[in-house]
């Protein structure tokens, strides 16, 4: 698990007299990861990218953090994750450090791919986290195969695969979920339905109302959750994982959310009606979790702010480290195409 240095939210909450509250503990962890993700992505998008220190595409999950954090924290460390491009916190949850992620974005050797690939195209088999390829939904059949393998190995673990609404249109989504269903493979499919795929609104992506409506056609239970509600995502994922561990096969969760940015850093999202951003800003998952924590006495405003400050400092350090990380030597161009003996 991640070295969660900044996660020392005072354990002395107003309920401190009572036994440690697992819900409170979870909320603190969740807020930590959600804010960490947002902070790292803000650096990437609003600083490093604009400063030209990051080249290439930059996609962020601003406003969607509850999904990857909710699902990621529901999983066991031995469950296998297939993040998509707006799921950065999954890496942190699995212990990949912010500095490594920042180095990855800047093409430095300090990143998990040593500059071979960029941005969220990273993975680490030791941490059971698999790198996407760019083709949307290509991970779905691969995750199905990973889930089949876990079953083959007699493992009680499962696989969680993440993707967007747009990805569901691809043949690979279909073939992957269908095969997993036929095989009763322990696969949890987590769709972030953020209303857009690049400029394409979801009603131009599909003619049904919900991604979850696709479940019955695969014989896969499907549920819809508020993707901006960390607890809702977490509970649904826990249900899905339990289903998978019981050998009942795949489970589809549609997390309704909203993409609070353009598709990527270069995209102004001019095609998105302004009022939607305003409406969804009010539903921000971080604000929402903060509110929950304060209202339920899990943390005070001051404690939260102090945690944020620590995270910012942690990310400052990470950024400094990453910027010092060297670029790969051109000789690395030719390495690792095949196994080197």
């Amino acid at each position: 698990m991640a070295a969660v240095d900044s996660l020392n939210l005072s354990r002395v909450s107003r309920k401190s007299e009572e036994a440690p509250d697992p819900d409170a503990e979870l909320a603190r962890k969740a807020l930590y990861y959600m804010f960490l993700m947002r902070e790292v992505e803000e650096r990437i998008e609003k600083r490093l990218y604009r400063q030209g220190k990051i080249v290439g595409g930059v996609y962020v999950g601003r406003g969607q953090e509850a999904i990857c954090v909710g699902a990621g924290l529901a999983a066991d460390p031995q469950d296998v994750l297939f993040p998509c491009h707006r799921d950065m916190a999954l890496y942190f949850i699995r212990g990949i450090q912010p500095r490594e992620v920042l180095a990855q974005y800047m093409g430095r050797v300090g990143g998990p791919t040593r500059g071979k690939d960029g941005n969220m195209h990273m993975g680490d088999l030791n941490r059971r986290i698999v790198a996407i390829i760019s083709a949307m939904a290509a991970s779905v059949p691969v995750s199905a195969g990973a889930a089949m393998a876990l079953k083959y190995q007699g493992s009680r673990n499962c696989v969680l695969v993440f993707f967007g609404d747009g990805a569901t249109s691809r043949g690979d989504f279909h073939e992957g979920i269908n095969m997993a269903a036929v095989m009763k493979a322990p696969l949890v499919l987590i769709c972030n339905n953020n209303a857009y795929a690049y400029s394409t609104p979801v009603h131009k992506q599909m003619a049904c109302a919900n991604v979850a409506d696709k479940g019955p056609g695969y014989g896969v239970p499907a549920e819809i959750v508020d993707g901006n509600d960390f607890f809702a995502v977490h509970r649904a994922t826990a249900r899905a994982i339990a289903h998978a561990r019981e050998g009942l096969g795949p489970y589809l969760i549609e997390c309704k959310t909203f993409r609070m940015t353009g598709h990527a850093a270069h995209d102004s999202a001019f095609y998105v009606p302004k009022h939607l951003f305003e409406e969804w800003a009010a539903k921000d998952p971080i604000l929402r979790l903060e509110r929950h924590m304060i209202e339920n006495g899990i943390a005070t405003r001051e404690e939260i702010d102090a945690m944020y400050a620590r995270i910012r400092a942690e990310v400052d350090e990470a950024q400094a480290w990453a910027e010092q990380s060297p670029f790969p030597d051109p000789s690395e161009l030719l390495t690792n195409v095949y196994e080197e003996k």
Binding site: S199, L333, L334
Partner: protein, 323 residues
């Protein structure tokens, strides 16, 4: 008026849309957004939703739908958001589109536009140059303009062509290349290479963005007393063997240059044809300069090392000339 490579393609499509009501565009984010690279910008407003069709993320269905529409008499222009994603439509391209005419005499006049090529920090999945796969697929035509003039003339020719055309557009040229092009309607014939620069000592046979690498090398060689001819293939299938052989017969030395990876690339085919059909004219080995056989790395120093450049061409050129 100086026109960018991108604008030239846009103009070509636009004029064909105006000329022929059967021409329409189909692809992801090509309408409201105007396409990931803005090649179709403004077309939705000008031609309406009927003729500028935004689709779900379904490359196979985009190409498939284009084929189906073409069978009904329309002339679809399908956009792959990046050439890399044509792999998702591969079966439709190589098995459906390419073989209909031969099998049952059904023409499939589609254009599949595929922004390809690297140098834009795209990493492994937004930089590929997959033309060779299609050059090995009888029934397809494969085009890749290297100049703005040709970009317009060839996209128009592709749209009017009665066979399926895979139209590669070099992303790095979209906005960097700006030049005078003829006013109004003209086409550039598919299947005809052109002498991009005349010379007599050495032929560099290339296409796309590598033209300018060849050009840079040629200028240096000029100073070294070597007169370099550059052939811009423009169409990769069917191959204009005549122009290639004529050049090599004149210069007796040939370098094949492309940014796609070396092994099994387009250069191999041209080298093989020269080695079979102009052997007796050769004064030196046939050299190839291409990207190494690796995926395309992301980080700038690796990316720079990956792509061919003038130095790599010069090294081979000097070897051939000293041979």
């Amino acid at each position: 008026m100086p026109t960018t490579y991108l604008e030239a393609i846009r103009q070509g499509i636009w004029e064909e849309m105006e000329r022929d009501p059967n021409v329409f565009c189909i692809g992801e984010d090509i309408g409201v957004y105007g396409g990931a690279f803005k090649v179709t910008a403004g077309m939705l407003e000008a031609f309406g939703e009927k003729r500028v069709v935004d689709t779900p993320i379904s490359e196979s269905a985009i190409v498939g739908a284009a084929i189906g529409a073409s069978l009904m008499g329309l002339r679809p222009i399908a956009e792959m958001q990046y050439a890399d994603f044509i792999s998702c439509a591969f079966d439709q391209v190589v098995n459906f589109a390419a073989k209909c005419r031969y099998r049952w005499n059904a023409p499939v006049p589609i254009v599949v536009r595929a922004p390809s090529g690297g140098g834009t920090h795209g990493g492994p999945f937004h930089s590929q140059s997959p033309e060779a796969w299609f050059v090995h697929t009888p029934g397809l035509k494969v085009v890749m303009p290297g100049t703005a003039r040709d970009a317009k003339g060839l996209i128009k020719a592709a749209i009017r062509d009665n066979d399926p055309v895979i139209f590669f557009e070099h992303k790095a040229l979209y906005r960097r290349l700006k030049e005078e092009i003829p006013e109004g309607d003209y086409t550039v014939p598919i299947g005809k290479a052109r002498v991009f620069r005349e010379g007599k000592d050495l032929s560099i046979i290339t296409y796309g963005a590598m033209l300018y690498v060849a050009q840079e090398a040629a200028e240096t060689l000029e100073k070294e007393g070597v007169s370099t001819e550059i052939i811009d293939m423009r169409t990769l299938l069917p191959i204009d063997e005549e122009t290639v052989l004529a050049s090599v017969k004149k210069t007796s030395r040939a370098i094949l240059l492309h940014e796609a990876t070396l092994t099994g690339g387009f250069g191999a085919e041209i080298a093989a044809r020269i080695a079979e059909k102009a052997f007796e004219y050769l004064d030196a080995p046939i050299a190839r300069v291409a990207a190494p056989d690796t995926p395309i790395p992301f980080s700038t120093p690796l990316e720079q090392a990956f792509f061919p450049n003038a130095d790599k061409v010069l090294e081979k050129a000097r070897w051939l000339c000293a041979y």
